[in-house]
């Protein structure tokens, strides 16, 4: 679970791989000619179908940029940010409030990062403060954002600022209805092609901010974008192993769009529900044993004991069989080792995204049929919300809704605790 499920995975199935935490992020970068054709055809249909409707709002948002709260005329004594965020779980960024600007630091932008990134978020209409030479300057609230990972999109949705998006990585994997509606209206542009970024078009588009993630390579296109004057935020929520910490990155996006109050309220509700569910799960009579993932060519990538997936399983009061393996990523295992430990396990979750039925699994490798969890119909896949292009909402809206993911898991492991819960992201592997 921690390991991102393969989006549109080919024979890889829903394979996992070691630096798992950011796999899902590339799903914005996926090109499939057939899909592209289909997408274009669909877009064509939509456009044709919408011809009768009135013209949509103009794309240029600068017309409305002087909206709420701009510092004009500027008064240095005014606190332009009366609502402030406080971080309870997330450790990957910090914020320092000043009257008309916020200093936000992303402390852990990528695995093994030796540098942090500082962002000077300056209220529109206010002067840029001096003394922050290393910081990227962003005028807030941002009006024109390019968000290259699907995980960023639910933030804008929840904060009612989908209008601030002008571009994404790729359309296909996106599940959010409001973002999809924007795509259908032709209000969004695509900036990724396969694994590569169309940096030139991004420069021409000159958004207020590009939200992305990075591996920290020296030849990373984002570093060139920064040099060219386009601010780039390395949103590193996937580096947080704790589900609530990951969800709390909603507040990072809130800092950009000045929606602190809303983010605080929403996250407080999420955290409260999550913690209530954890408490509920602890009342379970027994802790069923569980394992995750699937093998590829005999190698089984298993979530490590401190990973996102493992923490969710622990919070759902399950006995994760690889909880003893340190680390927050995944570990390549011999398929035999998995069978040796998990043959009699009670549950199997987060299988290959391609599988809908047990026959699919057994056809991929007949040895899957030997697992008791499969034989007893206790295999649950997190692919209930896969869109027609192969994008899995589990990796899009799941991270900001950890309480829903957890509720699913508790309902699977301890159905007596949540008898009325209807599974959202999960579905049983059909016999």
């Amino acid at each position: 679970m921690d390991q991102r499920k393969v989006q549109a995975s080919g024979s890889a199935g829903g394979r996992f791989w070691p630096p798992a935490d950011f796999r899902f992020r590339r799903r914005l970068g996926k090109v499939k000619p057939a899909q592209l054709g289909l997408g274009l055809a669909l877009a064509g249909l939509v456009v044709t179908g919408c011809q009768g409707s009135p013209p949509t709002a103009p794309l240029d948002p600068s017309a409305e940029s002087t909206a709420e709260g701009c510092a004009a005329p500027f008064d240095p004594a005014v606190d332009y940010f009366p609502d402030k965020v406080e971080l309870d779980y997330a450790t990957g960024f910090t914020v320092d409030y000043h009257n008309h600007y916020k200093v936000v630091t992303i402390t852990d932008p990528w695995p093994g990062a030796s540098q942090s990134f500082e962002y000077l978020l300056v209220q529109c209409g206010a002067p840029v403060p001096t003394g922050y030479d290393q910081a990227q300057v962003v005028t807030i609230p941002v009006e024109r954002v390019v968000a290259l990972s699907t995980t960023h999109l639910p933030h804008f949705d929840q904060l009612d600022r989908v209008d601030a998006l002008v571009g994404v990585g790729q359309f296909d994997p996106i599940s959010s209805p409001r973002v999809r509606a924007k795509i259908d209206r032709g209000e969004l542009a695509e900036f990724s092609s396969g694994a590569s970024l169309d940096g030139e078009r991004l420069l021409v588009a000159a958004p207020d901010l590009v939200m992305t993630f990075s591996m920290g390579n020296d030849n990373d296109p984002y570093l060139r974008l920064i040099q060219a004057g386009v601010p780039v935020a390395f949103v590193a929520e996937y580096r947080e192993a704790s589900p609530l910490a990951r969800a709390e990155w909603l507040k990072f996006t809130a800092l950009l769009v000045n929606q602190e109050a809303l983010a605080e309220a929403q996250f407080a509700a999420i955290a409260q529900e999550y913690n209530a569910l954890v408490a509920l799960a602890q009342t379970a009579a027994a802790r069923p044993t569980v394992f995750t993932g699937s093998s590829y060519e005999g190698t089984w990538h298993m979530a490590q004991g401190e990973s996102y997936a493992a923490q969710l399983l622990r919070d759902a009061a399950a006995d994760y069989l690889w909880a003893d393996v340190p680390g927050t990523g995944s570990i390549p295992l011999d398929i035999e080792a998995v069978y040796g430990r998990a043959a009699q396990a009670d549950f199997w979750v987060n299988l290959s995204q391609d599988w809908q039925t047990q026959a699919d699994a057994i056809a991929a490798d007949p040895r899957y049929g030997q697992f008791q969890a499969l034989q007893q119909n206790r295999a649950y896949n997190n692919n209930a919300r896969v869109n027609p292009s192969g994008g899995n909402d589990f990796w899009e809206s799941g991270p900001v809704n950890p309480h829903r993911v957890l509720a699913d898991l508790i309902a699977i492991f301890h159905s007596e605790l949540l008898p009325d819960h209807e599974l959202i992201y999960y579905q049983p592997l059909l016999p």
């Binding site: 995975s9 080919g10 024979s11 590829y296 390549p332 026959a359």
Partner: protein, 362 residues
Amino acid sequence: MLHNTPWPKSLTPKRFDQTATVSGRLIHCGGLGLLALLVGVGFVASLALGSVAIPPLEVVTVLLGGQASNPVWGDIIWQFRLPRALTAAAAGAALAISGVQLQALFRNPLAGPSVLGINAGASLGAALVVLTGSAAGYGFSGWWSQLSLAGAASLGAALAMGLVMLVAQRVRSSLALLIFGLMLGYTTTALVTILLHFSTIEQTVAYISWTFGSFAGVTWQQMPVLLPVIGLGLAFSLLFWRSLNLLLLGDEQAQSLGLSMGLVRLYLIFSASLLAGTVTAFCGPIAFLGVAVPHLGRSLFRTLDHRLLLPASALLGALLALVADAVAQLPGSQTILPLNAVTALIGAPILIWLMLKQFRLF
């Protein structure tokens, strides 16, 4: 890069007569017997060793048809270890024979299954499946994509083989054929690169882990294809030892001694491609064994006689593959190493040592 490297002086066909003496034959038969024994030991050891510690006595019980005290152990031995060990042995032998055939055909000690573009063809087939297939999660379900990985890789290897054979019929020079095979390899690699460029990170990783090679992905379901093809290929190869010996004298001399060059060449390309292509389709491109094992055979048995070299290489290939696979499993730990890395890490030093010894460099 491959050059038309001449055979080292010490490997000239003079050595043929070693097998002519009775005592020489006995020694060689003994050597083959010893190797076969070692392969047997390696096979049993790979059944006994693995990530899950199973007491040796239990392994014997299971192999004799008994019930292990832990039923999971029985499954592990029958469903996981036995297919893996069989695959390793068969694949090792197949790659080695393929290497022997191609080195004889091209009279080039650097030739191996990869020079004909067979691996590259298989890789292109695999890349097409891994990098573009099963987009929606629906439509193509698991069995399709799994089967088609081996299927597509076989198809790619077969197409590459067909092309090479077509060219081989028209081009007489082995060197030109070698260059053609190399160029074919570059071309398919270029296509794979383009596919990779347009793929997601997880697809790329899936493809790259395929190129790591693995014997563990083969199940009983695939054995009815894998074993007969390799078995037939090996059996046929042994029948052609005389032609291989004649080839070492040079095309012209071989022809003057009654060898039908065209036929032999086609047969060798077909056989070598079939063996290597099948292995690549099921286990991924395992590059090292095919090139190195023939040299091991020549060094250990001090012979160029293919009547001896073919079985010796098959056994050595099987042994090396079994050992490499066992090491890659890291017995006792639950994690594993990439097979291709282990074959080279184990095989290369042995080969270097043997070569240095042969040339009396130390």
